[in-house]
Subunit: 218 residues, 2 copies
DNA sequence: ATAAAAAACTTAACACTGTTAATTATATTT
DNA sequence: AAATATAATTAACAGTGTTAAGTTTTTTAT
């Protein structure tokens, strides 16, 4: 079985090599420059070889998008040590924004570009695993916040969606160059100011958490 | 001068014809199909003729993006008859969301795609007029809301940015297919639910507007 | 009316893109 | 060593934005 194993390993190696080259091109030179031909040139193979390892370009961008989620999830690991639900929620938002600002190309792939979703649609499991899992994590923390009276107990699904949207909206408007001329002075700090403002708004929803909170009567 | 006038009119006519063809292709067949060659085919001119009327593809998309703002602004005109500031703010949001849901391709061009901003960057007036003007209108209404105690008086700039971002986040996540699998049951209503939830959150910031509102002492 | 000048438009070409079919080279099995 | 399977390549198709050079049409001046 060792030859078959080696064969498989070689396949996986080249598969990874393609992805690494694509990632380097994508993060350093952008979406436009990440062509099949440029990836092939980088790994010194012919362009068509790539099609023996990935169905099409969308499949490559989907794989990159998965790597993006892996990175984001790894950064979210520090939340395990944050006991207070609302502190955890706030930290979650900071990590999300920080990730987006430091990895704009990757963020775009994960939450803006069509390619990864096109791949999902054409695959058998037509479900967006990465997004669904991440959103579930947000809902859990939000549920904790509501249970402990940090937030008015409303529909978790739509509340989580609003919070996610507010963060996505801020970073995506920034990444897609919609802030530059609207906030000429503080274009570099507007997302942070926005986030601080959002936190203030949420905090002022309930002034004294736990203390004055009326628990649901049995 | 009548010949010169006719000449100019002809130029404007073809200029508009190009734009109309581009708009039709774009809204009906999408971004990919809106190529210079396809536009040319539609108006029965050679592809290179288009370059006599528009600098490049970005210029065409910028012009389409301008038409998008013209349409959005026209829809916003009904706000003139809404006296109550907070009612006006809420209606503003509904119009914004409605526009995005009914004109997804156009919305994408206005707030997501790079092409129009690339054109702005390379033009002399490197300012995004359309966006800046619209944002100013939001700030004005928000300022009215704060003055009348419907909202805690905080920094207008960043508060307006958060509200805009929340709306943009919701509709852009929807348009870019990030809601489909996360909200399988209510994927068609999640944006509306989200907006209602957002309004509720803002309304619960101050329970009794005007009545219990403490005005700043002199 | 006719020749010169200007404007409008087209053809041909360059350097790319994703993707497929057919072909060659390499490695494994018999 | 021959047959088979795997891997990688070349050539080609149909498309993209864009530019330089050439042609047709229209306007101006004689």
């Amino acid at each position: 079985m060792s030859i078959a194993n080696r064969k498989q390993k070689e396949k996986e190696d080249l598969s990874k090599k393609i992805l690494d080259a694509a990632m380097e091109l994508f993060t350093q030179q952008g979406f436009e420059q990440t062509s099949i031909r440029n990836i092939a040139k980088k790994i010194e193979y012919s362009p068509t070889t790539i099609y023996l390892y990935y169905k099409d370009k969308d499949a490559i961008f989907h794989a990159l998008h998965q790597q993006g989620f892996a990175l984001l999830n790894s950064q979210m690991q520090v939340l395990m040590h944050v006991e207070e639900p609302f502190e955890r929620l706030k930290a979650m938002g900071r990590i999300y924004i920080g990730f987006a600002m430091e990895n704009p190309a990757l963020y775009e792939l994960m939450f803006i570009q069509s390619a990864p979703m096109d791949f999902v649609e054409e695959s058998e499991e037509t479900i967006w695993q990465e997004g669904t899992t991440s959103f579930a994590a947000l809902k859990l923390t939000l549920e904790d916040c509501m249970k402990n009276g940090y937030l008015p107990a409303q529909d978790i699904e739509s509340t989580a969606f609003v919070i996610w949207s507010a963060l996505h909206g801020m970073v995506s408007l920034h990444i897609k160059n919609r802030c530059k001329t609207i906030f000429p002075d503080n274009r570099n700090t507007i997302v942070e100011s926005g986030y601080n403002n959002l936190i203030l708004l949420i905090e002022s929803l309930i002034m004294q958490p736990r203390k004055n909170h009326i628990s649901a009567s049995p």
